[in-house]
Amino acid sequence: MWKRIGSFLILGVFLICCAAVTFAREAEVSISVSQKEVLLGDSVILTITVKGIPNPETPELPDIPGFDVKFRGFRQESFSSMTIIVNGRQVKNERTGGGYNFDFELIPQSTGVLTVPPLPIVINGTKYTTQAFQVNVLDQSEKREDIFIDVHFDKTKAYLGEKFLATFKWYFSKDIANYRINIPWLENIKDFLVTDPELDKDRSYQRLIVNGDKQIAAIKSREFYKGQEYMVVSFQKVLTPLAAGIYRLEPVFLKCDVITGYRRSRRGSLFDSFFDSDFEDFFGFGRDAVTEPFATRSNEIALTVNEVPGQDKPVEYNGAVGRFTFDVDVKPRSLKVGEPITLTMKVAGSGNIEQLQLPHIPDIESFKSYEPESKVNITQENGQVRGEKIFEKVLIPRSPGDYKIPEITFAFFNPATGRYQTEVRGPFSIHVDKAEKEEEVTVIAITPEGPEDRPRRELKVLKKGIHYIMTDIGKIVSPKKPIYENIVLSLLVFLTPVIMLVGMFVFGRRRERLNTDIAFARSRQAFKSSRIFIKQAELALKNGQTREFYDLLIKGINTYLAEKLNRQLGSVGVTLAEELRGKGLKEKECEEFTSLYEKANEVIFSSLNVESEKLKKDFKTANELITRLERILR
């Protein structure tokens, strides 16, 4: 029975392996490269094509030396079906496509022949390795006066808290078919926050694509530069430094196709279809233009960020840097108990408006205060970031009387003068009357421990808002996949009970058979029962008791045969030799069987002396016979 179970298991494993191999043969992973020679500033598209795997996961590429790697997206090839019919009969039906293309943009960081090594990628748990390939990166083209870029910062030195305004301008007086702009410091620059300036709602902007997939609001205009008219595409970025130091910003790269001629005349305005979805019609010219590639870059720029001076720093200074005005308004000045006072503090000017913190307001006794709200309005004038930040704090008097809201101080560092300035407003007088309706108080009993019956006001929500942040990090969860996404573990979870069930089934069946099938039960018991006599025979052998030895030996064999063949003890013996030969006992073994019985009878009935070697040999023969019979009498 165990042989059968083992055979089924081996067959099952073999079938699973065949299926896996067949399935694995269908999966296909390949790579392709858009171009092997590029200008510095341009990029190469590496496409990983996966076929035969449904819904593959996006593969992750390792770092490639000399390249910046960005994932551009994936495309699914649609299926196409081709049916071949001959003489009215369909002879072939092919289905192709259905693969997934994962596009990665590789941006080279230097000129020269750069090697992309074999890349290990994992798709749905299976590892694949790409082939190595080389990319020849050429330096920029010769400078042209009809196309150039200019990156200008409003300042190169600032204090921590001040912002830098970067203006990018692309001048061209030639027609352009395609373009590509790379700004390395746009997205990930250490110690800087890069944001967009406030857009003018009255102006129209166009979307410009930079860094492959980032959309920026840009302005198109005409400008005169050194006596020549140019089309200009411009946009701005605001850089807020977060730490002091000297920072070098890498050059901005531009690559475009300059139109040198046309195959057929189809000319329109340069910006007619600036943002057509069809990339080849970017500037409104069709596929008929003859183009010449051009690449250039701006200069590297160094920005210096200094800490504000530590000398003469006011106590109230909270990090404000710029030129500001400070106003405080308190309304109303006369009110009743329970009514709210709004303390409005407005800081306006140019500087780090968004980072401004609430000026310190000392606690006022008999007033309940609420967490202040703030709002920011930012505008841009002549390239300068200006705005205002308004803080509103609500105070509610608890008891009537005359109060003073103390002086409120706002300190800031003025980079133009290089000094700190302090603006003080207040104090503000407040007069609080009793509430309009006195609360009716009914005194039931006045005792030190007695209750007082006082009607209570309903709790009203003055204003809705969001709750405060959590002050504790909470329970940290490690980002691991749930167990059901691990196929091996999931199979194990369900396979283990099945194995357990099979084991219990086999055990239960055996137990049942032992209880109901006497012949089976005796057969299973035979070897164990014979061992009792065999061990006793061994003991007799050691003690030199020859007669007892042979008596017990024969009893052991007879017990074994009686149990195994389900016979009575008295009916088994040497007479079974022929029967055992028929069941598979060899001729020599039958002879040994017979001679063992004859020897035993001789010793038992005639007290024959037997050498000790012979006794040991007979003992061994008996054991071997029983072992052999155990194998053939299943």
């Binding site: 057509d276 909270n318 942040i469 990090i473 940290i476 219990m504 089934f505 055990f507 069946r509 049942e512």
Partner: protein, 257 residues
């Protein structure tokens, strides 16, 4: 004996170092979290958001971090990003009252009403059963039921007198197991194939086709929720309800997970 002592000492050192490293790593995360909280208190919400994002990018995930990030984005005026991170926080702290209150408040400030999917009574019943517990919980329930079925059947094989009862009990459990496994499979597939996202730009045009020349079907405002069907850079196919689906710029929507 000396060998045993040496091996034990090495293993103990490894465990201690590992524990120390883990503690050091955790300490760094706490420092960043508290620094972010201080920035938030000081009104530097952008700086606070940057630090919370840094924690998340390092794999330090907790409901409180996502909640605080949502608060920071709200203070910066980015209601879409705020709602997005509140939804992410729900996975970890679904019973948080502050979280529910903040989500309700922000949703009440949205300009456009979120269109709701209409379901039949049977779909509603099925969805309520399926959504009663998480996908992981359904998987565990199915695994436990399956184990119980095999165990009871096995006991029935061993114990003859218990066999009729074992068939009855395992039969009943099998029906429950089939239901729970279907719930798990359906919930798993729904989660895998139908991601949800939040609009994070002030306004997003939903077009009939993935092209700027495509006709604008309707506009979505920041904070609205949509089902993400598939991405086709730089466009994403989304669905709000049976009649409201289309293509939106991928930058305008961010998946919750």
């Amino acid at each position: 004996m000396k060998y045993v002592i040496r091996i034990t000492a090495i293993i103990a050192a490894c465990i201690f170092y590992g524990a120390f490293f883990c503690h050091a790593e955790t300490s760094v995360s706490y420092d960043i979290f508290f620094k972010a909280n201080r920035l938030y208190d000081d009104g530097d919400f952008a700086g606070a958001a940057k630090l919370y994002e840094e924690l998340i990018s390092k794999g330090v995930l907790s409901g409180n971090i996502y909640y605080n990030l949502g608060n920071a984005y709200y203070k910066m005026g980015k209601t879409g990003k705020a709602l997005l991170n509140y939804e992410r926080a729900k996975k970890f702290i679904p019973d948080s009252e502050e979280l529910s209150a903040n989500v309700s408040f922000i949703k009440s400030t949205l300009d456009v009403e979120q269109p709701e999917e209409t379901y039949s009574i049977y779909q509603k019943i099925w969805r309520s059963i399926r959504g009663a517990v998480s996908v992981s919980a359904w998987f565990i329930i199915s695994a436990v039921l399956f184990f119980s079925i095999c165990l009871i059947l096995g006991i029935g094989f061993i114990n003859y007198h218990f066999r009729p009862k074992s068939h009855l009990i395992s039969g009943t459990l099998t029906l429950i197991f089939i239901l729970s496994f279907i719930c798990f499979f359906d919930a798993y597939n729904s989660g895998k194939n139908f991601k949800e996202g939040i609009i994070i730009l002030p306004e997003a045009d939903v077009r009939y086709s993935p092209s700027y020349s495509g006709v604008v079907a309707f506009k979505l405002s920041e904070g609205m929720r949509a089902q993400i069907i598939r991405g086709q850079d730089p466009w994403t196919h989304i669905r709000l309800s049976k009649e409201k689906s289309g293509w939106v710029e991928s930058e305008a929507i961010e998946a919750i997970w």
